[in-house]
Assembly symmetry: C2
Homo-oligomer: 330 residues x 2
């Protein structure tokens, strides 16, 4: 399996790269090469197969990023929610023109006689609108309340059409809010969902811009990686025209997240300060707090682990690296 | 009201231009200028107000096509269904990059201190998938089975987001198949729906690629113009994030269309030859044959007229011009 990760330097891209190099196989087949592409050259994990790291703009995707013989493309390159809201041009460019570039790279492979590559695309809960009372079925219409969600929903349509035409074989995963992200707070409107767990575990304060009763649909980075790897290898022959899936995430509240935090590290949530932020609350307030995810369950996507395990997974997988990256330990 | 019609040389564009110049008003306000833009310079109707006709590529939309002070833009410029299926690049360019160009023209107006213009965008039943047994509700998810429909659905998302951001104030009308179109058969997969009425009325044979029982959701050009003009002037304040509407068309079958033809001109349907065409049948076979159109009815969109009136309207409005254009009379 020759595999490319676009956005290979990002958080999920690095998780996938690490899993592939560690496991050496995808869907029972040996991995034969891995190409990592991002705006800055991604770190190269050591592997038993050749790994290439490339820097560039996804809109001008170089042939070397999707070489002849590519079997799987993880298309994770994106401009995130608050950033796409703040900079319309940038969001449109990366989230839409970048997707066109992926389509064209696949068309080139197919035109040269290659098989249509499996493309695993990450879309988002932000492509839906809902109230806090809703549980969305798989047939729910996407009515985005933010530019990021609109661009992701539009890209889903373009990629599904490209699949129908035989340019690629796409599976789109509409990721829940991924918690706990390592690193620093970033420009995603959802950044605080991770910060309220991560920062207290680092001994730092975090700001909570919504009430404790706020409902949210989340998943751990481990489970997100499981789903993306499953999407890369699954049988798509029964999917029909609709190539998008809402995977079985965790339906919880901010208050329950803080309870899970305290159950793993008693008293940690005392570092969370309630500071209402209407801009952030307006964006995340339109994201659905729950999905039935029936189709994804039927297609073999593993359901979520308990919230406490999500906290423990962060401690096991990412806490030390985060401390080091943030200069909190030598 | 300063009005621009993109695709002003096309069939619906010319109908709208004619209505505006004849009536001189839109939504109770006097029309003060009309700008017609198309790939070839559109014909200029005589009018009591200035009319400008411009030729160009919608992707490189010139400032003169959407001048300062533009109140309403009819965005009808499109690559049609069979053509977008045959030429992926062209469809993507016009149907998606053309829509981006309209967004940017509106952003320019707003950045210069103008009001966000009303944009009336034509989408299509081809953006949905359904079986012949379905009647789609307003909440139905768009799962297109062709590139034209995918590009239209993606453009709807981009335009709704641009409205939310205050760049424009869009109303998207998902037009039924427009019957009876004048002129010659064209590259739209739906071309035969008009041809089976038009050609016999011209004394010519027409080919029918689907069975007589085939269900189809249609509207007359008159009613399409009514709807687009209503969309240009209606109150959008209660629409929320979803700016798209399925208007109340005619739920009929090809057989019923031929019956209506015969009731207006006895024996005319004898000129229709049944010649199965799987390519055409595959495309139109995924288009829904009926919609509830409840939301559009509530928003004041006028329901369809009987099928016989559609045939009579073609005879009254377009038959002579079609005879002349086709060289069938001097």
């Amino acid at each position: 399996m020759n595999i490319t990760i676009l956005g290979g330097g990002g958080f999920l891209g690095r998780k996938i790269a690490e899993r592939l190099t560690r496991e050496g196989r995808l869907g029972g087949q040996p991995v034969t090469s891995l190409t990592l592409f991002d705006i800055a050259e991604p770190p190269k994990p050591s592997a038993a197969f050749p790994v290439t790291a490339l820097a560039g703009d996804v809109v001008d995707l170089p042939e070397a990023a999707v070489p002849a013989g590519t079997d799987v493309i993880f298309h994770l390159a994106a401009v995130v929610s608050a950033q796409a809201e703040a900079d319309y041009e940038l969001g449109r460019r990366v989230n839409l023109r970048g997707t066109d570039a992926v389509v064209d790279a696949c068309r080139r492979l197919v035109a040269a006689g290659g098989r249509p590559p499996r493309v695993v695309f990450t879309s988002s809960v932000a492509s839906f609108s809902a109230t806090q009372a809703d549980t969305l079925p798989d047939e729910a219409k996407q009515v985005p309340g933010n530019s990021y969600g609109a661009q992701k929903a539009a890209a889903e349509l373009i990629l599904a059409d490209a699949s129908r035409r035989g340019f690629m074989d796409v599976v789109t995963i509409r990721l829940p809010t991924v918690v706990v992200r390592p690193g620093r707070p970033n420009k995603a409107a959802s950044s605080f969902f991770s910060a309220i767990v991560r920062e207290p575990l680092l001994g730092l304060e975090a700001e909570l811009p919504v009430p404790d009763t706020f409902g949210v649909w989340i998943c751990s980075p481990r489970r997100a990686a499981d789903w993306l790897l499953h999407a890369a290898a699954m049988d798509t022959s029964g999917m029909g025209l609709d190539r998008s899936l809402s995977p079985p995430g965790i339906e919880t509240t901010v208050g329950n997240m803080l309870k899970a935090l305290d159950s793993v590290q008693p008293g940690a949530s005392a570092l969370v300060r309630r500071i209402t932020d209407p801009t952030i609350a307006d964006i995340v307030g339109t994201w659905p707090p729950a999905f039935t995810a029936a189709r994804a369950r039927a297609l073999g996507f593993v359901p979520h682990e308990p919230m406490e395990d999500v906290v423990r997974a962060f401690i096991a997988d990412d806490l030390e690296a985060t401390r080091r990256d943030r200069g909190l330990i030598a």
